[in-house]
Symmetry: C2
Subunit: 326 residues, 2 copies
């Protein structure tokens, strides 16, 4: 049997955590031959509820689950962690501006970045999900100067999957027949879901749908999908977000198929003219536990404009939290 | 690719449904090569929330998910279903006696039994989870006279897994090294979790723990685990219940290992002296999609007493709903 990997997770008693933990424990993230240890972080008032979640994990009798620990201290929860999933974040309260939200979360994530720097496995892989995810990733990574910046990613896979679902529905195809979707930029309503490289059953998606649908239906639907789900369910997306976490980590660690790629927000190296150092979502191919931005794609005027809008938002978010970066 | 199977599920927008649907859709129940169609039933006021769940299912871009339909009519949701998971039930309200609960649910489940009889695949496999599960199963099966009674089961797998977890913890072992646990009787606080046949790393469990622990700790802990989790989480077990549904159906359809068995509540054929026709939990082995009660186990006085207590409760529950049986 393989040695267990240590997976730390924040916001472990929250809705996404609850949707996600059981799927990790059964082996869906890294395979049915990979034992796991869970190291769960929650805020102090949620530790009692987290105990209940731990009981339920025990009650599943998972063959691969080798242990579960809980803590309200990042330095305890992140110790020796091989993978860290930063799910928990302060939600937007009544009357709170986006700027207030960014600042409230920035404080949490800078503490977590410092803890990762101090106690995690030097080769840790970190996924930031808590919003604003891209800018939180910037803060976490900026506060962990002793870890390779390439070990930090933010999640746009839920947006990627949502875009696949919308294009499949429009073209009467199945998602399994779609390839090469892209989410560019910020995990926010400025993101740019781009079908210009996508194929449907081997045909160019652009030849199957009209520009009108793209601009007025597809792009806003994907951008605003989160709000649509809140309206229907009365709660934000949890199971689909948890599923995207599984997909993101699985792709990163186990690799992407030869004929496809995934979207991941990573620290920009300036690819496609994006500002250096922003966490920006790119098309990425993964193998051997590393990602590479897909290079050399042709970017038309329509795309270029939208890539700039979402980049501009990220630049503004960065300026709001720059005092928290070393 | 295999032809899709049709899986119907009731209470689809509830907590167990939400924990379960995404795991079914990703292929955990019947395997990663088995496409599925979901046919979801909810009460009318929950259909809007269910729409949100369906959106989230779409947003996972599951390769095996071939379609999702929703309805508030059992005859629509169960049509041609190969598998039916009856999760939804009326919860116990304030001031409600157990008898009131049984009657309120009996009305729902007799309607669902009739619908199964009329529209489901003749070879359908039905799992009843909604409480009181055993007696609801009796009602469903009794109202579906044109379906083989062996196609109906009620769930005690969550109790089975809970018992494994407690014994593993006590013996400092891992659940993967335990075999041959048994839950006898009713999925209620009278159930009898029986370790007399169980082994831990090949050793008899009875030689590793004392009778005192068994009577005063193990048995009540397993019997009252549901209430313990409600106290900790503030909500009843959902993810562990959903996981047990996966385990139950997987064992039933894909089979049990050579050296082990599972617990399933099935229509009694009088095995171990139980009253004919009650839905009672037995140790079962499964192969080729069929279960067989494990026969010939020696039952000592300690066990016999407890098996009778839980049987007595089932007899009483049956008498409360006998007017609903044909």
């Amino acid at each position: 049997m393989k040695a267990p990997v240590r997976i730390a997770l924040t916001g472990a008693a929250g809705q996404i955590g609850y949707s996600l933990l059981f799927r990790i424990a059964v082996g869906e993230m890294f395979g049915k031959d990979q034992p796991v240890r869970l190291q769960l972080l929650e805020i102090t008032p949620a530790l009692a509820a987290l105990d209940g979640v731990v009981m339920e994990l025990e009650d599943c009798a998972f063959p691969l689950l080798m242990g579960v620990e809980t803590s309200d201290q990042p330095k305890t929860a992140f110790r020796d962690a091989d993978f860290i999933l930063l799910i928990g974040a302060k939600p937007r309260g009544p009357g709170m501006e986006r700027k207030d939200l960014i600042e409230a979360n920035a404080a949490i994530f800078s503490e977590q970045g410092k803890a990762i720097d101090e106690v995690a496995n030097r080769n840790v892989r970190v996924l930031i999900v808590g919003n604003p995810a891209n800018t939180n990733a910037l803060i976490v990574q900026g506060n962990a100067p002793n870890i390779d910046p390439r070990c930090f990613t933010a999640m746009t896979r839920l947006d990627h999957n949502r875009a696949l679902a919308q294009l499949a529905k429009k073209t009467g195809s199945h998602v399994r027949n779609l390839r090469q979707m892209i989410i560019w930029g910020n995990h926010s309503s400025t993101q740019y879901p781009d079908i210009s490289q996508a194929t449907v059953n081997g045909r160019r998606a652009n030849d199957l749908v009209d520009k009108q649908w793209l601009s007025h239906n597809f792009i806003p639907t994907v951008q605003q999908r989160g709000a649509t789900i809140i309206r229907a369910r009365g709660q934000s997306s949890a199971a689909s977000a948890g599923n995207a976490v599984i997909d993101h980590m699985r792709s990163w660690i186990l690799g992407t198929p030869e004929d496809d790629w995934v979207s991941m927000a990573i620290r920009s190296d300036g690819s496609y003219g994006t500002a250096d150092g922003l966490f920006y979502s790119f098309p990425c191919r993964c193998s051997d536990g590393h990602y590479q931005v897909v290079q050399g794609l042709e970017i038309d005027e329509f795309s270029r404009e939208r890539m700039l809008v979402t980049e501009q938002e990220l630049v503004q978010e960065r300026s709001a939290i720059k005092h928290l970066l070393p």
